[in-house]
Point group: D2
Chain length 409, copies 4
Amino acid sequence: MLTLDFHPTGRHFLQIPGPSPVPDRILRAMSLPTIDHRGPEFALLGKRVLSGMQKIFQTKHPVVIYPASGTGAWEAALANTLSPGDPVLMYETGHFASLWNNMATRLGLKTEFLGLPGAEGWRRGVQADMVEKRLRADTQHQIKAVCVVHNETSTGVTSDIRAVRKAIDAAKHPALLMVDSISGLASAEYRHDDWGVDVCVSGSQKGLMLPPGISFNALSPKALEASKTSKLPKSFWAWDEMVDMNKTGYFPYTPNTNLLYGLAEACDMLLDPQQGGLEAVFARHRRWGEGVRAAVKAWSLEIQCVDPAVYSPVLTGVMTPEGIDADAVRKTIYERFDLSLGTGLGKVKGRMFRIGHLGDCNDLTLMAALSGCEMGLKLSGVKLAGSGVQAAMDYFAGHPAPQLLQKAA
Amino acid sequence: MLTLDFHPTGRHFLQIPGPSPVPDRILRAMSLPTIDHRGPEFALLGKRVLSGMQKIFQTKHPVVIYPASGTGAWEAALANTLSPGDPVLMYETGHFASLWNNMATRLGLKTEFLGLPGAEGWRRGVQADMVEKRLRADTQHQIKAVCVVHNETSTGVTSDIRAVRKAIDAAKHPALLMVDSISGLASAEYRHDDWGVDVCVSGSQKGLMLPPGISFNALSPKALEASKTSKLPKSFWAWDEMVDMNKTGYFPYTPNTNLLYGLAEACDMLLDPQQGGLEAVFARHRRWGEGVRAAVKAWSLEIQCVDPAVYSPVLTGVMTPEGIDADAVRKTIYERFDLSLGTGLGKVKGRMFRIGHLGDCNDLTLMAALSGCEMGLKLSGVKLAGSGVQAAMDYFAGHPAPQLLQKAA
Amino acid sequence: MLTLDFHPTGRHFLQIPGPSPVPDRILRAMSLPTIDHRGPEFALLGKRVLSGMQKIFQTKHPVVIYPASGTGAWEAALANTLSPGDPVLMYETGHFASLWNNMATRLGLKTEFLGLPGAEGWRRGVQADMVEKRLRADTQHQIKAVCVVHNETSTGVTSDIRAVRKAIDAAKHPALLMVDSISGLASAEYRHDDWGVDVCVSGSQKGLMLPPGISFNALSPKALEASKTSKLPKSFWAWDEMVDMNKTGYFPYTPNTNLLYGLAEACDMLLDPQQGGLEAVFARHRRWGEGVRAAVKAWSLEIQCVDPAVYSPVLTGVMTPEGIDADAVRKTIYERFDLSLGTGLGKVKGRMFRIGHLGDCNDLTLMAALSGCEMGLKLSGVKLAGSGVQAAMDYFAGHPAPQLLQKAA
Amino acid sequence: MLTLDFHPTGRHFLQIPGPSPVPDRILRAMSLPTIDHRGPEFALLGKRVLSGMQKIFQTKHPVVIYPASGTGAWEAALANTLSPGDPVLMYETGHFASLWNNMATRLGLKTEFLGLPGAEGWRRGVQADMVEKRLRADTQHQIKAVCVVHNETSTGVTSDIRAVRKAIDAAKHPALLMVDSISGLASAEYRHDDWGVDVCVSGSQKGLMLPPGISFNALSPKALEASKTSKLPKSFWAWDEMVDMNKTGYFPYTPNTNLLYGLAEACDMLLDPQQGGLEAVFARHRRWGEGVRAAVKAWSLEIQCVDPAVYSPVLTGVMTPEGIDADAVRKTIYERFDLSLGTGLGKVKGRMFRIGHLGDCNDLTLMAALSGCEMGLKLSGVKLAGSGVQAAMDYFAGHPAPQLLQKAA
């Protein structure tokens, strides 16, 4: 495998918004010997990850774990609850919202793709008032589901899901609320039961710090009810057998055992009460987001997200000035400084790059990434108003991580 | 993860017919850092595994790699080629053939489940003449596909796929030939193009020696043609975008990168010309099957497969005498000798157990497994006619592995 | 590193009497990132392994851990307690006793190498009465130390150390008792304080299940006292700074941190009260020794050790009949069955081979090894009286591991 | 081992001047199964590392590999060449030179510890003219060896070894030249044969990027000759058997096999002609040293080394202003930013800290480390003249790595 391990010296800095770097603890867990998934030991593992994921989704209802990457869990959410031709209201927050919309269309659903006009929709979160207005107009309640992206990975905007729930309730509309939190979960705050989400879709390679290959559906009783009458064909994705057999800790077909080892370890890491549990996780990503945005502001570059209320704690989209190809900047940074950044996707291709601050990260890793960005931007001819690196140092030095404060207190 | 690693001393012997033990070489490869699957390095990996899998399937046509376990690839084969209500001819060779049949029904296909009556069908391979007869009767050519299992993991029978192809051709029937070689591939001989298979389904956790989590569809031009008019809804499983984007070495959605590292390593191991390549792989599993069956015969226990022409090189099903619960035997063996064997599934539950000789194995590992079986059978009160361990030693000592012979020559 | 990992298929069986196979748990522990051995975290690790090793040696006195392989710890024992020209009584139990004697001579000590005449000494343990007689004759108490090997790795004889202690006491002689338990520790019973040993030498790559690279001196107050007047020059091996600094969990010079990670894990495994602790470890090796010897007896081959009272629980030496080159047998077994056995050393080169049953082992691993031996012996033209494999199965099936009995009770 | 792996999130930055971070490639290599060091495969490994180390020392003469950490190799150099009471000229460049001097004294040699007065000697390299003068005065040629440290790890000074050789030659003195390049080798330029060194001592945990546990003596024919008459007792460290048996690829006693796997990998990495080989390694460390010193100068802090001709490419010693406890600064940095820096040792304890830029490193890792230093210094109340981080970015962006230039050309 040497050809794949060619970085000449030191560690590659992978600061894309997922896959995020996999901690050694998780890689070691994944290297445990594969066991018989029908054997007596497996049930312990199954129960452990199923219950761990309920805690991470903050739900008391079933979580389904698919041995498949995140795109599959999108399909599962739709296929288990809807029937061919069902009208679905989707909201365009960016590239991944668009891809989910494409998938729904492809599966034979009638999607309506709501959103702000032009590129503006890609710089703001879901406009709950637009959702409410549209649902109020649907007096026949033909719309079966409202699908929104929690953390839009292509832009760095984290929509207010609670507001979307309120909008649906205000419109007294029975549509299901389906949420993609593939890149949000376990980095950005997410509360499944409290927020009244019916299906939440997530994946392993972001806040959960695993390689890609596992994905999730967190359910609500209403979603489970809807699955009984849904007519889209499904088998691999079907919730019924899965939820049923999961009660024993087993799975109806072969799970990806070694990634489950990693998932069990990730749950231990994220929920560890000694480290402050999930709330500490959310706080540290918020703080990193602040530090990175302080840098972007010092550079006087534009942040892709224009609404500070929905800045993402997961990643920051940085727009390059007119005439500067963001991908050329990324290439320079990659080749000179062994740092991977996220590319601009879809409508914003070449106009922005993305800095990930999700998953297993820390202050100095971000300082390294910001240094790479600052050097690369200058080498690419971008005039910077000031040093973002300096601003980030000021922020990080001036704002100790909450847990450190706690220890000091 | 210590609770999952509780074997008191020495290595557990995992001799179930999959998941098979993952070699350290592959575990090490899987622990390489996850890279950006949109970055410049990934294409090399993508091309390497795609071309490696073509060699392993022995095909010049596209192989699709899903970041999902094998059951998903069953669904993919059906969803890409068929339309709701399509009649499909399936053949009952055992438990997995039955599960595939159930899935097809669940997806809205009209399956006809051909097979020998009673338990007999679970002891023999696909009866090609029955297939031919049924297809000849379908003068309207309503049957769209013939689905058979190459190596039936629940019984230890490896059907003659070439004969099925001949049967379809003899009947001059246009149905697609779809084959499940999940447990056969890379242990039992399989020749996709030569045998005229349209879709072959396989998975990672058997002959490929990986953890579960990757699955495959090997295609034919005719299957690709059929996919253009197939009406079952699909998105995650859709071949079109996948085959198209794979040309560049990339994937339309997130692949499971770390398992692909392992797959690249597995291809290197299986195709290594210095080790004799695939032909040597097939030969060694045939030889191991012979050795294990010599043991079963010496015990005077019945082999589940009654037709020597289709004995499986992948696993051997061993029937326990009347009155002996095979699962109680397995439990004794597991607890006393730290050896996992496969359980009897479906119709043969409690009546047999299965010894895997697939994937990464060798003579002494099988001697260990056979010793555990012999001791456990005796401890369970089974009267054995003679020592299977002795018989296997005689076989292995008397029949050097072909490659060893070659070296000696 | 591929060139070093060339076994064509399955796991190599390493049944030499050390290095013993390293369990994956330990390999994983060893892959933790190297930390600053002067940093705040290290002291925890240092204290943990130092206290763990006291439990394993069964001593309340200091244990010194050298970042060096076992031969170094031999030198350390001598250099810390003796002065140039000191007379030392050593006892010839086999090859390793001879090597230690050579070392002592080389370091300028005057050694007297006691032992039974001819090859006989290599088939029995230390004759305590000979030691007593020699010490009684040394009325001037010129002999400064008695050096014996606890478990002679070259022969498979475990001497009675308590008897040697009694002999010294009976002779009312002040000589230090120095013991090499490199291959005995953590497989064969060893009680440092209880047996009154002054210096015990051990290493990592046997019962402790680590790769080679760490070695030990367990001390007594009398040995510490002797070290104050000893005149052999030493620095790296010097106990004084080591024992002093170890009180804080640190080491005077760079320790081999990653092997210490493995050592901490090994201590956890060996001392685990849920697995029965050290007594269970000793019991399982005794049982394995019984099983292996049952096989050798069934073959009617001679066991190197002729005194059943001192059969080794660590390894069994098997003599080949006249005219059969034991190394040719080993070569056949290695090439045909991927099994490594220990060679005959020194006086018994070519006349015997050694089967290791130390460290991380279990019943089926030994059944595999014995099968390989039985097949290889036959292929080499050795006439066997009966099946050793059969005898071992009878033994293992008939004698459940004590811990299993306990669970059942 | 979880208690040892407690960093809350992200990777710890280990920028001490050794142990240096171990690359994953090497950790993977070290996890290969331990093999029989007397078996047929081992010789390949032995020959590979022995020949690799000759290339790294740039010598055609034997290199001895000890399964022991670096302090042992110091002892080996002395014990193999000298006799009790031999006068030895040592030169005080810092803490490690002092420790080696202590060791020599302890071993019974008569050392003379040359050096500049006061703290000055710890800020400059070896003064070759002082050596020459002293040797000229030794008209009886009683001095048997001149011992100097190539890269003084405690200060960040890399002495001119070629000049010391010239001084000895100019004095027409037959003393052996012994060099400690424990922290220099494989980061700083070192040419054993060309520079006329007789014994070079080195270790694994610095430029070779391994965990501690292996150490080396590179020899000259003159050193080998001296070893024949040397009278210091030795056995473990003795060159004669080692050099003799190494010809076959084997070792006289148990080598630490798994670290040798890592060493073979390290040799591959360092000597890789596609990466530019050793010259590229030296060049990148020189460049990193320049970048780090640019930062220190921008802060207006003093560099421990006052002679730019002998700035170390391995580490940089940074002096803190009067009244600032360097260890308190280090503690703040460790606790707030998860970064380990080297402490001040001996005479400079509390007055300076050390930044490692040895081994497996890259620009952004150093930017991270410098950011941590800059934030920590400010938090500790140190007034900095300017931003060292900015200066380092300017340097790294302005001076591409030579190899990158080559690729561009």
